[in-house]
């Protein structure tokens, strides 16, 4: 009998929610209300879409690009997740008693986002139950993902964490066993809860063990099963 791990949420760095357009649940009036209270903005690589602690006056929807959602600390940040196109990036700041962004968001590549006025957005939440129910779906799918990462970063050792990240980037972001790793070593450190020196050492070990191949920034996974094993058992 194959030894199986307990049924836990896989620790992924990105939420892979199916592509559905929840805006189609809006009435014409609601779509209009949101439309006249929105801005479409282009962000360059490295720019900040939301700043932790600043006024959360809008809800941000990443229409195209790639961004990281992170908690800022005095000396170290912690990346909660990476967001791809057609995903909200600031839904979790929308709750009564809160008027600030609870985390920061910045882009990895040139990106486009739609900013919805938060009062208009809340008004639609309170009036359109099907829309609200869909938002609940998105929030809870996100929560399941973050819980997986929380467990990973708290209870796994460094090799397992790095293996998780490589697999996640491959499966969910680049959707290929070969990809150009445009995240810096510091970003990888913030994503794994390790120091950047540790990340570099483990990448080297994986290369020397013929698990991956590194050509400058290009990563090619040679032994995916081996990564899975490292992810599972450390």
């Amino acid at each position: 009998m194959i030894k199986e791990k307990k049924n836990t949420t896989p620790p992924t760095c990105v939420v892979s929610t199916p592509h559905i357009n929840i805006f189609e649940y809006l009435t014409k009036e609601e779509a209009e209300l949101l439309n006249i209270n929105q801005r479409n903005v282009k962000f360059k690589k490295g720019e900040i879409l939301a700043k932790q602690g600043s006024f959360a006056s809008h809800v941000i929807f990443l229409r195209s690009g790639l961004a990281k959602v992170y908690l800022e600390g005095d000396q170290k940040d912690l990346i909660l997740k990476i967001v791809t196109n057609n995903h909200f990036v600031s839904l979790s700041s929308v709750f009564d008693g809160n008027d600030s962004f609870i985390y920061s968001v910045s882009t990895y590549v040139d990106s486009e986002a739609t900013l919805f006025n938060i009062d208009a957005f809340k008004q639609v939440l309170r009036s359109n139950s099907k829309f609200s129910a869909q938002i609940i779906n998105l929030l809870n799918a996100n929560t399941a993902q973050v819980y997986g990462r929380f467990y990973c970063l708290t209870r796994k050792q460094s090799h397992g964490r790095v293996a998780d990240i490589i697999m996640c980037l491959s499966e969910n972001i680049f959707e290929s066993h070969s990809f150009n790793l445009n995240l810096s070593r510091n970003d990888l450190a913030d994503l794994t809860g390790l120091s950047s020196e540790s990340v570099t050492r483990i990448f080297k070990e994986f290369r020397d063990s013929n698990i991956i191949e590194i050509n400058n920034k290009d990563i090619n996974i040679l032994d995916y099963q081996r990564l899975k094993d490292i992810s599972t058992y450390g």
Copy 2:
């Protein structure tokens, strides 16, 4: 000028949402629908209200008692949060594409919970936008809390983590500087991401430094400000 930390969500082990009764947002018909599809159940100390991976056929509302919400791993668990009376404990499992509990819940003391049939609950979410909007509030307040803990357990060292837990138990659960610590050393280990030996040693160090006083299970905080400093700076 007093040196201040960056604006981060305080890492608490429990969600301190204000006590509001979201059920008052229900219409008579909705209340009736939930009422005929619910069970009020008593659980003894140590019993499991929800088992990770098992069918999430109901939504659980803890009416009285104390419970822990945790992720189970092969060798170690991770406690996500502690839940006090009048709080939901399984809202985050409610999303399309999911039919299992994504975490486990068990009681610390004898408790009572109301179990709502999930289909009835979802039906109300889809039809009552004010109720859904309130659920979104609860979910996002919960998310903010868990993000704080995620940062704490990933980026803080052991003394800061233990200080956080002591402060949180004091402020949010027992609401006193003196309390009976009914959590086992193993629970504290799962709550801090440490080993139980490390937890024991740090409690002893805090006692020897006159930060806390220990009489069997009774904890008395002698120097709250010192705990805060340790929490902030490690």
